[in-house]
Symmetry: C2
Subunit: 323 residues, 2 copies
C-alpha cells in the first residue's frame, strides 16, 4: 500500500510554502515561491504550480490539499471574505482550487492551521487551553479552547494581529481600518521598520553598514545580524519582543491559557525575541497569572502553517469518513 500523503500549503503575505505531509505530520517534499505583490490570477497560477511540483516529486498518491491562507474565512460559505495581505477577497478559493487541482481541497485561516499543527503534534500538544501566534508579514492567531480549535460564530476568531494596543497609534498597514494594531508592533514588518529606524541612529552598527551597502533590512537578515552579535539588531528584536509581551499579557488576561506558542518567520530570533516578551508580559500581569504561564517557540517553526494545513485536511477527511 502506498504511503498516504496530503499536500499542505501555507500562503503568507510574502511567500508560499508547500509540502507533502504524512499522517504523522512528517514533511517529505517541499516547494517554495515568492508571492509579494502578485495579482489574483498570477497568484493562483503560482499556487497551482507549487502544488504540481510536489505532486510530481513525491511517489505517493495525493489524497487532498490543505491550505492556510491569510484571510478572514466565512465558514458558512467557505469564502474568503477579506484578504488582508493577499488578493483573495470574495473568491470562492476552495472551489476554484479543487477545480484546478482535481483534488479535494480544504482551507482555513493560516493562523488556525498553525495552531492546529502545534496543538496536534507541536509545542501546544497536551494543552487544552493554548494560544498560537504566528509572526510573519503580520500576526496570525489561533485559539485552542477546551482542546479544540476555536473559530467563533462565523469562522473569523483569532485575528490577534488586529487587536489594538495603542488606540491612537499608527493606522494599521494590514488594511483593517483600525489603529495601533498588535501587528504594527511585533510582526516581521515591524522588525524591518524598527531595524531601519535604528540603522539611522546607530551609524556604527552592522545594521547601518548593511544599509550603506544597499542591503534591504528585511526580518530574516536583521535576525542574522542579531545572531552574529550586532547590538542594534538585537535591540530591534528586543523592542518588538517587548511589545509582543503586551499582546501576550492582554491574551492571558482574556483567556488564562496554559501556554502561548510563538511561531512564524520571526521566531528564528529565538530567545532574543522571547526573553524580552516574557519580561514584558510578566511585568504587566498579576503574579498569579505570570507564574502559571509558559511562553515557548513553535515546534514547527516556519512550517507550522503548512503542516497544519495538511493536518486540517486529514482531520476533515476523517470527519467526512465517519459522518
Amino acid at each position: 500500500m502506498a504511503a498516504r500523503r496530503i499536500i499542505g500549503v501555507d500562503l503568507g503575505g510574502t511567500k508560499l510554502l508547500a509540502g507533502a505531509v504524512d499522517p504523522a505530520l512528517g514533511v517529505h517534499h517541499r516547494a517554495q515561491r515568492t508571492v509579494t505583490g502578485l495579482d489574483q490570477r498570477t497568484l493562483l497560477d503560482v499556487i497551482v504550480d507549487a502544488v504540481q511540483e510536489i505532486r510530481e516529486s513525491t511517489g505517493s498518491e495525493i489524497e487532498a490539499v490543505g491550505f492556510g491562507i491569510p484571510v478572514l474565512m466565512d465558514h458558512r460559505t467557505g469564502r474568503a471574505v477579506v484578504g488582508v495581505h493577499t488578493p483573495l477577497a470574495e473568491l470562492a478559493f476552495p472551489d476554484v482550487m479543487a477545480e484546478r487541482l482535481g483534488l479535494p481541497v480544504f482551507v482555513d485561516n493560516d493562523g488556525n492551521t498553525s495552531a492546529m499543527a502545534e496543538h496536534l503534534a507541536g509545542a501546544a500538544q497536551g494543552y487544552s487551553e493554548a494560544i498560537v501566534l504566528t509572526l510573519g508579514t503580520g500576526i496570525a492567531g489561533g485559539l485552542i479552547i477546551r482542546d479544540e480549535l476555536y473559530r467563533g460564530a462565523l469562522g473569523t476568531a483569532g485575528e490577534i494581529g488586529h487587536v489594538t494596543i495603542d488606540y491612537d497609534g499608527p493606522w494599521c498597514q494590514g488594511n483593517c481600518r483600525s489603529r495601533g494594531c498588535a501587528e504594527m508592533f511585533s510582526s516581521g514588518s515591524a522588525l524591518a521598520r524598527e531595524a531601519r529606524l535604528l540603522a539611522s541612529v546607530r551609524p556604527d552598527s552592522a545594521l547601518a553598514a548593511a544599509v550603506r551597502d544597499g542591503r534591504e533590512l528585511i526580518g530574516p537578515f536583521v535576525t542574522e545580524l542579531a545572531h552574529d552579535g550586532d547590538a542594534a539588531a538585537i535591540e530591534a528584536i528586543a523592542l518588538i519582543g517587548s511589545r509582543l509581551g503586551i499582546t501576550i499579557a492582554n491574551l492571558v488576561n482574556i483567556f488564562n491559557p496554559q501556554i502561548v506558542v510563538i511561531g512564524g518567520g520571526v521566531i528564528a530570533a529565538g530567545e532574543l525575541l522571547l526573553g524580552p516578551a516574557r519580561a514584558s508580559a510578566t511585568s504587566r500581569l498579576l503574579p498569579f497569572l505570570a507564574d502559571h504561564l509558559s511562553i515557548v517557540p513553535a515546534r514547527f517553526g516556519v512550517e507550522a502553517g503548512m503542516v497544519g494545513a495538511a493536518a486540517l485536511a486529514y482531520d476533515q477527511l476523517a470527519r467526512a469518513a465517519t459522518a
Copy 2:
C-alpha cells in the same frame, strides 16, 4: 411544598446587592449595602448581615447562597487569589462564608456570574458565542464559548477590564500592575473622572453647576444629568462609550462573537453609551465583522451579577445532584 429560593449576592467595589432568587431567576427580596473602603473583617460582617436580612424577610427555605465577587478565582482551590477592588485576596472565601451562614456557598468572579445570568435568561439567551461586559467601578467580563461559560485554565479568564488599549497610558487604578487598561477608559470610575474634567472646562454646564454646589460627580449622578439633557454629561458618557467601542472591536477580532452585552451600573446611560460604542467599534472593524455583530444592553441591568450568582448556585446544586 415551599417555593425554592437561593440568595444571590453581587459584591462590587462600591456596593453589595443581594436578593432571593427563584429557579426561573425571578428576584423576590432585595438588600443593598455600601462597601467602599471596608476592611476584610467589616466587609465579611456586612455580607453576612445582608444575607440574614433576606433570609428573615423571605418566607421560603434558602437552599444555598451564590456569590459573584470581583476577584481572580483559582478554580482548583476555590480561593480568591487576587482581589482587585476588594480586600478578599488569599481568603478561603467560600469556606468562611459557608461556616458563617450555615448554608452551601458557591462563588465565582462577578463578571462570570453576570454572563451566566444574561446567557441563561437575559440578552445573550440563545447565543452560543457571547461576551458580557459589566461596567461598574471597573470592568468585569464573562465569556460564553460554545454555549458555556469559559473560565480558562485556572478559572481567571475574562479579565477584560485589564486588557490594555493604550500600552503607554495611565497606570491601572485597579491594582493590576499594567497601564492603559480598558477599565481606565470605560468604567463608572472613568465616567466620573471624565465628568470632573469636563466640568472644569464647561462652566455653563449642569456638571459644572453641580460641582459648584459641592456635589460629587459619581457615575449615576452624571447619567441623571445626561438624561436631563446636559450636553457636558452627555459628552462624558459618549467619550467612555466611544472608548468602550475600541475594547469591543478588540474582542470581536479575537472571538468573533454573535453578541456583546453591556451591563453594570453604567448601562443606566442606555443609548447615550451604546450609540457611541457601536459607532466606534464599527469604525475599527472590518465591515464583514461589524455587519454580523449586535451590541445590546444587559437584560438584568445592575442585577445581572446577583441573579447570576444565584444561577451559578442552582447550576452547581444540579450538577452535584446528578454526579
